[in-house]
């Protein structure tokens, strides 16, 4: 732990509040349910995590909270970080920038969701260090097994060992959510460290309005 207790709690609560207010689309009387990934399906809520991870204050806080947790682990056993595209890169970048400010270097590379369509047709971007365990990071651990796929490719294509942990900002588990399709239940072969679950935020607009005294409203232009 590198942060004093009060500072850690304040950063965590600031991030939680930011996520709750800014990243969740919630259907209500004026916001219709939105199309889901499966044709014909709809979602009544969805997270847009990059609304947070592209915010400079949020990014800085996540970098600090990450090393607050992982620095003792890193000192014990060096690791490199693999961020899953497309949502992981800003998280990987802020972790690497925080490490540099704290006086050490962590190697970072990216795992693509699909192989590049030209050049080497590569699955990974960046410099990969041999023989060093890989900690996979992404924004959310949810129903799609992208981290699990990245971990399989890291082991098979790069021949690298995995770190015992995975890291995400949010683990999409909590009350009212079906457990059977979640990463932590079905996919991951290591321990997931996540700062937040769905118990930390409001899934429904009426729940949000009751908690904050006004309906949810995103800031900025949405296009």
């Amino acid at each position: 732990m590198i942060l004093p207790y009060d500072k850690r709690q304040a950063l965590w609560e600031w991030c939680r509040d930011f996520l709750d207010r800014e990243i969740y689309y919630r259907a209500d009387d004026t916001h219709p349910p939105i199309p889901g990934k499966v044709p014909g399906s709809t979602y009544t809520w969805q997270a847009y995590t990059r609304r947070a991870t592209y915010n400079p204050h949020f990014a800085n806080a996540i970098g600090l909270l990450f090393w607050d947790h992982f620095l003792p682990v890193f000192r014990d056993q060096l690791f490199q970080i693999c961020a899953c595209e497309p949502s992981g890169p800003p998280i990987g970048m802020t972790i690497a920038a925080a490490a540099r400010r704290l006086g050490f270097k962590v190697n970072l590379f990216l795992a693509r969701r699909e192989a590049k369509s030209f050049g080497f047709n590569n699955w990974f971007d960046g410099r990969v260090l041999s023989d060093m365990p890989v900690l996979i990071v992404d924004d959310t651990a949810a129903s799609a097994p992208y981290m699990r796929q990245a971990s399989a490719r890291i082991q098979h294509k790069l021949g690298l060992p995995l770190h015992r942990n995975y890291f995400t900002i949010i683990n999409k588990v909590g009350r009212g959510l079906d457990k059977k399709s979640q990463h932590t239940e079905n996919y991951l072969d290591g321990e997931l460290i996540a700062f937040f679950t769905m118990n930390n935020v409001c899934k429904r607009a009426d729940e949000f309005a009751e908690k904050y005294g006004h309906p949810p409203k995103w800031t900025g232009l949405v296009k």
């Binding site: 199309p35 592209y54 400079p56 497309p86 890169p89 790069l158």
Partner: protein, 213 residues
Amino acid sequence: MTDKERAIHREWCRAFIEHCCIFRSPPGQSLLVSRSGSLSVWQFYLPVALLDPQFARRVGLLFWDRFGTEFKQQPFQLCGCESGGILLMCALQAAAFESGVAVNAFAVKKAAKGYGIGNWLEGIVHENMSVLLVDDVIGKGNTITAQSERLRSFGLKVVGVFAVASCKRAVPFNFGDCDIPATALFGPDVFTCTHEHYVRKYGRQPLFQGSQQ
């Protein structure tokens, strides 16, 4: 930043790209397929550089040395072109934050999301703030032109374009119809692109450092 410091950072970044981030096909070996489908004897892989914390830091310092005064006079937000521009955008944002300035950033996608709200933009976008569009490499300019027009169609004002490298055109220049000033840290003439030229210049084989997997 003094002229000497600027020159040191610039040369460090140029050398990093020159020695680590350009794949050059050796003579007689297979060529790489480029984005357009043609074959090329060399290709930039700038994520190798932008994922390096030292490179990212130095690019950030050089960027804010160039744009810091403009930002103070008229604050702008950064927009990264997916996917190469995202890492650069994050590096520039982190460098500003380290010097005490919080710069808003968002990304413009290659295609609108196929589900959910069907968005083109990721991040929080301040609708009344100018935008500086960033990408890792400017080639013919198709991406920049298309994305700047897209942002303008959303009512956003694009005031400039910045890239690490421009591999076709000397910098700075203006984008045709858009008339947007574009600049890059490096123009097309500062790198030794072919394998033969590299060997002749440095007396050794180039060592590409990116993942080929």
